[in-house]
Symmetry: C2
Subunit: 519 residues, 2 copies
């Protein structure tokens, strides 16, 4: 292979001024702006004309579909069935669980009318509802009402249900994928005959989320429990997985709630136990959302755009035919198709490898950078010389600049191994980043404050991290940290078990807590 940098389009992003990276600004210049631009340049999604709501474009939705199918498999494997419940929740349902309604009242879209009439040339709502309906912010209440009907005896338990749905929480400061008024998610809802069984379920799904984040999205996470202040409204315990973004802020990537008998009492989910005594059931709920796509962008993205873990990439291999002379087009296209056919016969992660030959009428260098920015794990550029030499020019998204030119007969068989390497690399890189930015040695409030103060950092955009500190469990100390926008992300499952002092107040403390700024 003898391609020049120019031919391969290395960094040749425009005719005039070549920027140094495909995404501007870079992460270390303006992280939030970088994030927006990665999404824009990858053509994943955009904010819509409806305030706070996004449009998920085909590339973004393709990622969501892979995401869904991987997680759905796990949810079914663990014994749950999918079902579907109404979008609307009567106000009276929401009122039944006091802390639940308090948690969601401030962000509910409310339907008050059921038709429109023309009046003075414009449309106005009419047909006022007797009882307003809330667009579901989450479905514990509406599903609780159904469970109460379905559960009569211990034989009806456990009831293991999941729902894939859109939910609405009115956002005053929307951010694409991270906080939008409408978002997509799955919400599991289960009912059990004993506390132990419900708690086991809660932790089983927490582990399912850890598995999903780490094995499929290549996002390493800390597993732990939320403090009482950070619990889901109505839960007795909220468990979570927390990930670290490249600006060192935390992002809650999934939660699993043990709801005790709170919702069972509010909705009368009762069963006759084996002794013939009527008892309230024990329930759980757990969810992850399209927000996790935001996490994936922020964990793996680089200054050239998105980097997709192969297991979640809508296309794992993209082949760009390089067509310089019309008379050679046939040969080159046929060559690209033949290579693609071989690759599609390979299997990775239990599925045929997803390969695309990009035949659009567009300069190949433009195509190349489009696929770089979209994060496709493996790109191939095939021109006449490759065809004649019987080789394949190939680049990995995790190795900027490096090139491979395997023989055409060998390339297909290499793909599954390469995809697995890339998947592993992303995880290892993210894991190393998390390790490098998790601090165990912050023991006093002064150091703690300095650590979380941007002006002390070399790169203010990227500072702080996970501070694993002792905490006395006093909510007042938690509130004091919150004054500088630092929250306890979780009480990690892995506790050191030693004695120390609360990083906020200095009193004796043994509990480890993960402090961080968060999305």
């Amino acid at each position: 292979m003898n391609k020049t940098e120019q031919e391969n389009g290395e960094r040749d992003m425009s005719k005039n001024k070549a920027p140094k990276t495909a995404i501007t600004p870079r992460r270390d210049e303006d992280y939030p702006e970088w994030y927006q631009n990665v999404i824009k340049e990858a053509d994943m999604a955009e904010m819509s004309h409806v305030r706070g709501c996004m449009v998920i474009k085909p590339w973004g939705y393709g990622i969501w579909e892979k995401f869904q199918s991987a997680l759905d498999g796990k949810i079914k494997e663990t014994g749950h069935d999918n079902a579907y419940f109404p979008l609307f929740i009567p106000l009276s349902f929401l009122e039944k669980e006091a802390s639940h309604v308090e948690g969601f009242a401030k962000e509910c879209a409310v339907v008050t009318h059921h038709r429109l009439v023309e009046k003075d040339g414009s449309l106005v709502p009419t047909g006022e509802l007797e009882e307003p309906l809330v667009v579901r912010p989450t479905s514990e209440t509406i599903i609780g009402r159904s469970f109460a009907k379905w559960v009569q005896s211990y034989r009806d338990l456990p009831l293991l249900i999941n729902q894939w749905a859109n939910v609405v929480r009115w956002e005053m400061r929307p951010r694409i994928f991270l906080r939008t008024t409408e978002f997509l998610w799955q919400e599991g809802h289960t009912a059990h005959s004993t506390r132990d069984e419900a708690m086991t379920e809660t932790l089983t799904m927490l582990e399912a989320y850890r598995w999903f984040a780490e094995e499929k999205l290549a996002i390493p996470v800390i597993v732990g429990e939320k403090t009482p202040a950070e619990r889901f409204p109505g839960a007795e315990n909220t468990y979570c997985i927390e990930a670290i973004m490249q600006d060192c802020k935390a992002l809650q990537a999934g939660t699993s709630h043990y709801l005790g008998q709170n919702f069972a009492k509010a909705f009368e989910i009762r069963f006759l136990n084996q002794d013939g005594v009527l008892e309230h059931a024990y329930t759980t709920s757990w969810g992850v959302s399209s927000r996790m796509i935001g996490a994936m962008i922020m964990v793996h993205g680089d200054d050239d755009g998105l980097r997709l873990p192969p297991r979640i990439a809508p296309r794992q291999v993209v082949i760009i035919p390089v067509l310089n002379k019309p008379e050679q087009e046939q040969d080159v296209l046929a060559y690209a198709d033949a290579v693609a056919t071989d690759i599609a016969k390979q299997t990775y992660d239990g599925q045929p490898v997803r390969v695309l030959v990009d035949k659009r009428d567009m300069r190949s260098v433009e195509k190349k950078w489009q696929w770089v920015k979209r994060g496709v794990p493996i790109r191939m550029e095939l021109g006449l010389r490759d065809f004649e030499a019987g080789t394949v020019f190939m680049q990995r998204r995790d190795q900027a600049g490096e090139k491979m030119t395997p023989a055409r007969d060998e390339v297909a068989a290499m793909i599954p191994g390469l995809l697995d390497e890339i998947q592993g690399n992303y995880f290892d890189q993210a894991k190393a980043f998390m390790k490098a930015n998790t601090y165990y040695d912050i023991t006093d409030f002064k150091t703690f404050t300095d650590f979380f103060t941007p002006k002390n950092a070399e790169k203010p955009e990227i500072h702080g991290g996970f501070a694993v500190c002792k905490w006395c469990e006093d909510p007042a100390c938690e509130a004091k940290a919150a004054e500088m926008n630092v929250t306890i992300r979780c009480i990690p499952k892995d506790q050191r078990g030693d004695a120390g002092v609360c990083v906020i107040c200095g009193k004796p403390a043994t509990t480890d807590a993960v402090f961080a700024k968060a999305y």
Copy 2:
């Protein structure tokens, strides 16, 4: 095999009075009630506590998932990408296309507030929106607005998008699966640079729907075009597939709309053509919904409940271990599992056969009838005698009462063929029913009126059918038929081409129209 009727639980539905069919009333006694009870007994869905909205239970949702995956494959194969657009539509968007808003204004759920506050002990909406939002009844307007942004030049066309979503149309008289305030569907939306290309797209998707109905759901359909009175609000042409239910009423099973430049003009979807001239695009939209599950029930169900076409059945084979003596349980369960393992290795319709061993703690006769009512294509009951004889006791849902006892080593390989036979049988039966109830010889108004009058029928619940008659194309004649609740379902694609007289007014007419009562 020497099982008695009693052992097999033939019709033994209760300890006291054995009803003659698993579903009461029978179809010919009370068809609407039969329909409700099939859904109830198959545990598919139920009306929720929210007026007009349904809960789709696991068995019903499992059918929806198979439905989705089959249709989604076709949608992608025909070049479309999935995406997701907001649930909410600003009132001003809806107003832009006059006939569109007229068509939907009477059934829109309107969001007017974005939070709740407590007042005198109960919650009231607050935070009034400046512009009310409609919960999407369909998404032409909101998607049109995005398309306007995305399309600049002919190079951006065609734009081929599909969305799987929930939509809301306020229903005053809801019927489960058939008319519910919220329902699930897919809606395709495309934009093209020429009228011809858009029309081709419209008809391609109409054909995709015919294929889906006939090949996957085993529902034969008539393909045709709606009259102007029955068009989608804002469309220039609406095409449809129409199916006949067992009470001889029609059900519209899918529609594909050629929208001309109506929405392109309303939303300014414009492109620079190859000559550098700015033009409005030509758009289409097309959809099928969870309503089609209602059609499937009404086309294939019998007096014992649901009959699922194998290609859409969440479980194609269910094995019921018959455990009479505790000491033999191990052997029988192991036998059932081994048979299931073999069956799961078989492939039908491009996927592994979906088999379940039902190990629930429940009488096997109860289980049997549950699976009959749920419409599982093949049931097996395996007891000790089967294990010892090395045979499998098997029944097909399409052959009530008939039994098969193939050898255990041969049964797995038989399954794909049997499933295909059952799929074919359902289609053939439905096709024969449609043929038997399609009348070409009604040429005068008196006969027409008699045909559609229940009191003239032997079984008032089941009467009428498809009357393929001549129509003069005068809307007044269409309106006259509508007075007796008879509508023109479509102008069928297959026209006889002969001359005759309008069945309503008696004037000369050549156009064939399919008249029917409809859901």
